[in-house]
């Protein structure tokens, strides 16, 4: 996003284009122009331009290094986890080799169980059997303890035949599903986290299938996140546009005063603002008390305005409103009022003048505001967590859960990657429809 927005980049490419053209074209008189010290002018120009570019690059270098080290590399590593999880393949090499040699659908024979027993013993010794169990538990819930408990038993010693010995420790080792899960995890690179993030899994035949209906949650949450973000973007536009217009057209002194009112909540802690909404909107809250006092609703008919989707929408719209108002305002300030006056004097109705003359000029600010609000809304989770109730959970809450509670970072990374891809697609669409050059971030 930085490059197309960077005005300097545009100037440099532009200048470079001109330079190339100038060099290619011979002088009209056929005489070579030179500088005062006798250098050919074109070459001197090129050299000074190159120096300027180098200086510019050196100036940008610290930022570039900073962004690379603190942003691109860690995020790249995190995203890599979504497709790579060597938890099983690293710690269970012999079983993984058996899976390589035997095609999908092969019934695990004594060699497979022997490999399993050997790997388990080694993993228990190295205290990595928990990693293996956790990896398989992602594929088939409920199996982690099977690995840790069997690991403990195998470490005490196991005699052939391994199949009978393992089945005696736990009959679940004969489970076909378990072997499918182990096969799916036997390569370090895997698509299973992306499949899981789309409510899909791989069945024993290796085909992609849907997970049981009562666990299909991620696709629904993606849809809800996108829908709510779009709705909130629309609401901030409807509410913010008149405010920005008022701010831009009032005399400076009064508009500054109003501006403070816009900025004050912007500077207030997010948690404070969210909690303030709870105080206002809850059933024993200020708004309901006022309505009851006015006699508009009865004591029994207090409205449920928070701990549901309504609460999420209200609180998030309020919190994100400044991100819409500020870019709109900065663009509106620069719009010359004489255009609208000219349109009016030429016979346009006020609506037509607004629609054809004023509104199109605000598009760069609107675009920037909409993009900001939308992208922030997509990743929001504190507010939905506090006021969302049962219907306000968003996809970012699940990412946070997998990061901090289940510690399934591969799953968190897969969800985050899908979210990122979705935002990028929307960004691309946006660029197609509105044009990213038309963006003014303030």
């Amino acid at each position: 996003m930085a490059t197309p927005l960077d005005p300097h980049a545009a100037i440099v490419t532009h200048a470079a284009g001109q330079g190339a053209a100038a060099e290619a074209r011979p002088n009209a008189q056929g005489v070579l122009l030179t500088t005062a010290d006798g250098q050919p002018l074109a070459r001197a120009l090129t050299r000074s331009r190159r120096r300027a570019r180098r200086q510019a690059f050196l100036l940008v270098l610290p930022l570039l290094a900073f962004v690379l080290i603190t942003f691109v590399v860690p995020i790249g590593q995190m995203l890599q986890r979504s497709a790579k999880n060597p938890g099983f393949s690293d710690n269970m090499p012999q079983v993984s080799a058996w899976f390589d040699e035997n095609p999908r659908g092969a019934v695990p024979d004594e060699a497979a169980f022997a490999a399993l027993a050997a790997d388990m013993a080694a993993a228990a010794e190295a205290r990595t059997v928990g990693i293996v169990g956790t990896r398989i538990n992602y594929e088939l819930p409920g199996t982690r303890s099977l690995f840790t408990s069997t690991g403990r038993k195998v470490a005490r010693g196991i005699e052939p035949p391994h199949r009978e010995a393992l089945l005696e420790m736990d009959p679940r080792w004969a489970d076909e599903e378990l072997w499918t899960a182990m096969r799916n995890a036997s390569t370090p690179y895997t698509s299973s986290f992306y499949l899981a993030a789309l409510d899909r899994t791989r069945d024993s035949a290796g085909d992609v299938a849907r997970v049981p209906e009562n666990r299909q949650v991620y696709v629904m949450l993606f849809q809800r996140t996108l829908w709510l973000s779009l709705l909130i973007t629309g609401l901030t536009f409807v509410l913010g546009f008149p405010v920005a217009h008022l701010l831009a057209t009032l005399p400076m002194r009064r508009s500054n005063l109003l501006m403070i009112l816009v900025l004050l909540p912007f500077w207030t802690s997010l948690l404070v603002r969210t909690t303030a909404w709870i105080v206002l909107l809850q059933q024993q809250g200020v708004v309901n008390d006022a309505l009851v006092w006015l006699g508009l609703i009865g004591e029994q008919g207090r409205l449920q305005m928070i701990y549901n989707q309504t609460g999420t929408i209200i609180a998030m719209t309020h919190i994100l409103l400044p991100f819409m108002i500020l870019p709109l305002y900065s663009v509106m300030r620069t719009i010359n009022p004489s255009y609208v006056r000219a349109a009016r004097s030429l016979g346009a109705t006020s609506w037509t003048a607004f629609r054809r003359i004023y509104f199109p000029q605000t598009l760069p600010g609107l675009g920037a505001g909409a993009l900001l609000v939308f992208i922030l809304a997509v990743g929001y989770y504190i507010t939905p967590a506090l006021v969302g109730g049962s219907s306000g959970q968003l996809i970012s809450n699940m990412i946070a859960m997998h990061m901090t509670e289940t510690l399934n970072w591969s799953m968190a990374a897969a969800l985050a990657a899908l979210l990122l891809a979705g935002v990028l697609i929307l960004y691309w669409l946006y660029d197609r429809l509105v044009g990213i050059d038309n963006l003014k971030l303030g």
Partner: protein
């Protein structure tokens, strides 16, 4: 206890990462990750200050919201700055099994006040390969005694009885604790809860119980929320952490009461991240802080139960100097009668699966 939890995760990560920078200038203190708020204050008073006085070794308590994720990140990156962390038993079990924790030999622990070896003095589940318990916190039902009317709720089933006790209910928006309570509220005895939850029918039964009060539920996530909901009159009864309800009653004088029937308790304690900078000092601190007297001292600050039988008898008065704490602890014998201990193994196996199902159920409005 897990008040700001996720939202402050990034901040706490930054805090912890910044520790070695300035600590290197002086003698490096023992860095202990803990949960913040009253919890940290209690540990400061009961463990850290006496430890420094006894050994001269400085201790630094650092508040974090998700010690497990932080430890996983630190061990994975090979840059461990924490010497010790306070975690739940389930998390300790998981970190231990994944090789992210140092083993702790129970032989280093102090014997009980009456000379019982530590291994017999701790509650079941209080000692593990990499874990030594420090406290027992509990999820209970809290209600406002001035609002429930003439007869008070006296069993967990009353929480699900909207006819006898009308009014909305505060429920934790997580499957853990919630599903257990739903089953016990449906008449499942505590010792059968996890067997039941392991079957599809049992799960359906738990969700059906929640369905029966569904339109009256106000969901909460952070530990401070339910107490606020009760104080605002938003709910008639709520699930809550016992320490929060206790503090609201004795520090702020709120008329809250606790229904101990069907309480679900979890043991918390110390684990040492693998590759911690000073393992021997960490072990020394573990042994020092889990002796009966410091444990009792901590319980006096916070009303979380001491996990040792012999420490239970040493607990005196709350810091207000009046309240006898013993009957307010989750580990008091009369409170333990119908209590359920969280099954750490069950939740490491089923956490993700049940959270997915729970979220799907939540969304099915």
């Amino acid at each position: 206890m897990n008040l700001p939890r996720r939202c402050l995760f990034a901040l706490s990560a930054a805090l912890v990462l910044s520790v070695p920078g300035w600590a290197a200038a002086d003698e490096r203190p023992l860095t202990v990750l803990t949960w913040g708020g009253d919890f940290t204050r209690a540990q400061q008073v009961a463990y850290a200050t006496p430890f420094t006085e006894a050994t001269g070794y400085p201790v630094r308590l650092v508040d974090v919201d998700s010690p497990t994720a932080l430890i996983k990140a630190q061990v994975a990156s090979g840059n461990v700055t924490a010497d010790l962390a306070s975690v739940g038993q389930a998390d300790a079990d998981r970190l231990c099994a994944e090789g992210l924790a140092e083993p702790i030999d129970p032989a280093i622990l102090a014997p009980g006040a009456d000379g019982t070896p530590a291994a017999q003095d701790f509650l079941p589940g209080g000692l593990d390969d990499c874990f030594v318990a420090t406290d027992v916190y509990s999820t209970v039902i809290g209600y406002d005694a001035t609002r429930v009317g003439a007869h008070r709720p006296d069993k967990l089933a009353d929480f699900f009885d909207l006819d006898a006790f009308p009014g909305r209910r505060g429920v934790l928006k997580e499957p853990r604790f919630t599903l257990e309570m739903a089953l016990m509220g449906d008449g499942v005895p505590p010792d059968r809860v996890y067997a039941e939850l392991s079957t599809p029918q049992g799960l359906d039964r738990a969700f059906a119980r929640l369905d029966s009060i569904r339109d009256q539920i106000v969901w909460w996530e952070a530990g401070a929320q339910p107490v606020q909901l009760l104080a605002d009159g938003e709910v008639a009864m709520t699930m809550a952490y016992n320490g929060r309800l206790f503090a609201a009653r004795f520090d702020e004088g709120r008329p809250f009461a606790i229904l101990w029937d069907g309480q679900v308790y979890e043991i918390e304690g110390w684990m040492i991240p693998r590759g911690a900078p000073d393992v021997s000092a960490a072990l020394e601190f573990v042994a020092f802080s889990t002796a009966p007297r410091p444990l009792a001292r901590a319980a006096e600050q916070l009303s979380y139960g001491p996990p040792r039988v012999s420490a239970q008898a040493l607990v005196g008065r709350y810091k207000d100097g009046v309240t006898e704490l013993a009957p307010h602890l989750p580990t008091a014998p009369e409170n333990l009668r119908s209590a359920l201990a969280v099954d750490a193994g069950f939740w490491t196996d089923h956490d993700a699966e049940l959270t997915e199902r729970f979220t799907t159920w939540l969304a099915g409005d």
